[in-house]
């Protein structure tokens, strides 16, 4: 389904990683691990199609994602380090906007909020939320608009144990429904039977 072959990434002339290959089928999960600067976020961004690889290819069902960027964009959920939550809008307004931007409807917003225990915060301005609560608003986006490929960069940051469990349950449901999940994590999010890709030490040159 998602195949990566001989992928290399350069940033500012520095080789971040090279010769990265893996294949994910429906229901698979890949955990990216490695030291800070080893290229976990860069790999997620390449998989999302935000950047082009220095070498190698990323294919979805045999088609290179660079040849169909618009189609690939609609397959992907990308949760980066920044949560994309606007402090001056309420929690519900934030999620409704993000769902509409991603092509989803308003009918799933309340369900997605409830899945991350945010229903009581829905009318509150997001600026009043803690870092963990803002993270949960960003995570609720994953459920508000179904997409087959989740790319999650440190999704467990700032979450307490109960909400990490909710995130893990959401990842499990995504896999049961045939979706793919790629998670960059330092071990705070547990994923059942994942493939693991350990990225090497950062190259200083």
């Amino acid at each position: 389904m998602l195949a990566v072959e001989g992928l290399a990434c350069r940033r500012g002339g520095r080789l971040v990683f090279e010769a990265v290959s893996f294949t994910l089928e429906a229901g698979d999960a890949l955990v990216l691990s490695g030291a800070n600067g080893s290229g976990k976020t860069s790999l997620l961004r390449l998989l999302a199609g935000f950047a082009r690889p220095a070498e190698g290819s990323v294919t979805w069902l045999g088609r290179e994602i660079t040849l169909e960027p618009a189609e690939h964009a609609q397959r992907v959920h990308f949760l980066g380090f920044a949560d994309g939550v606007e402090g001056q809008l309420s929690v519900r307004e934030n999620l409704a906007y993000q769902a509409a931007l991603l092509g989803g409807g308003a009918d799933t917003v309340d369900t997605a909020l409830a899945a991350f225990d945010l229903a009581e915060f829905a009318p509150r301005p997001a600026r009043e939320l803690s870092a963990g609560q803002r993270r949960r608003v960003a995570l609720a986006r994953l459920l508000a608009v179904p997409r087959p490929l989740w790319l999650l960069d440190e999704p467990g940051v700032a979450l307490d144990r109960a909400n990490r469990a909710r995130l893990e349950a959401a990842i499990e449901r995504q896999r049961e429904e045939g979706g793919l999940v790629v998670v960059a994590t330092h071990g705070d999010v547990r994923v059942r039977d994942p493939l693991v890709l350990e990225l090497g030490e950062p190259n200083p040159c």
């Binding site: 961004r45 809008l89 906007y97 993000q98 931007l101």
Partner: protein, 222 residues
């Protein structure tokens, strides 16, 4: 596709309504800067009447430039730009929606405020409609051109000053024809040539600026 772009427009307008004070600051700059001119060149109605339209147009241009650094920078820093790229709507269409929202919060306000400023600098009665008309036609072009500079500088850490330096040369034709049209209308002359040029600039900016801006944003994110 269109729904996503309308969602972004509605989102930006909702934010603009909640930050209405920030938009008023732009109009405040426009008004206060104009109020300095009588102090600098003297309060003679003759002098002010002769330079007034030009001063108002230059200040409108600078006021549009003022808010450019906030056009995409918060999205780039806050993670919103990634979501825009993953939208079913083309990034170019989203850029157009963003520019429209920005213009409604700046250019439109400046056009509405311009008759008051025309009175302040003793312009003739014709200026009360000639200035808003030319600003309504010119400021959207300034916003669209400005979006290219804002996108090029997004992520570079450079501020609004560099954006202004990049964008100002491209704004000069809009300023020349906008001012020519305003002065011709105030003098009761035929301004159709200058107005047609301004319309052409606007159409060209509508067609080309979103492409250039979207390409620059993709570069900034990549």
């Amino acid at each position: 596709m269109l729904r996503a772009a309308l969602a972004l427009l509605a989102h930006d307008l909702r934010l603009a309504r909640r930050r209405f004070g920030e938009n008023l600051l732009v109009v405040g700059f426009f008004t206060l800067a104009l109020a300095l001119f009588p102090l600098g060149v003297g309060a003679s109605p003759d002098i002010l009447g002769r330079i007034g339209a030009g001063v108002i147009w230059v200040l409108a241009l600078l006021a549009v430039l003022l808010g450019l650094d906030r056009l995409f920078q918060p999205d780039l820093e806050g993670g919103g730009l990634e979501q825009m790229l993953l939208s079913p709507a083309p990034l170019e269409l989203l850029v157009l929606a963003r520019c429209l929202a920005h213009w409604l919060g700046t250019g439109l306000l400046l056009a509405f405020a311009s008759p008051l400023l025309a009175i302040l600098v003793h312009l003739p009665a014709e200026a009360l409609w000639a200035l808003p008309l030319t600003l309504l036609l010119g400021t959207p072009t300034l916003t669209l051109i400005g979006s290219i500079g804002a996108a090029l500088l997004a992520g570079s850490g450079k501020g609004a000053v560099l954006a202004a330096l990049l964008v100002l040369p491209l704004d000069i034709p809009v300023l020349i024809f906008g001012l020519s049209a305003a002065e011709a209308l105030i003098a009761g002359l035929d301004a159709s040539g200058a107005l047609l040029f301004m319309g052409a600039f606007l159409l060209a900016a509508l067609a080309l600026a979103p492409l250039a801006t979207a390409a620059a944003l993709r570069l900034a994110l990549g």
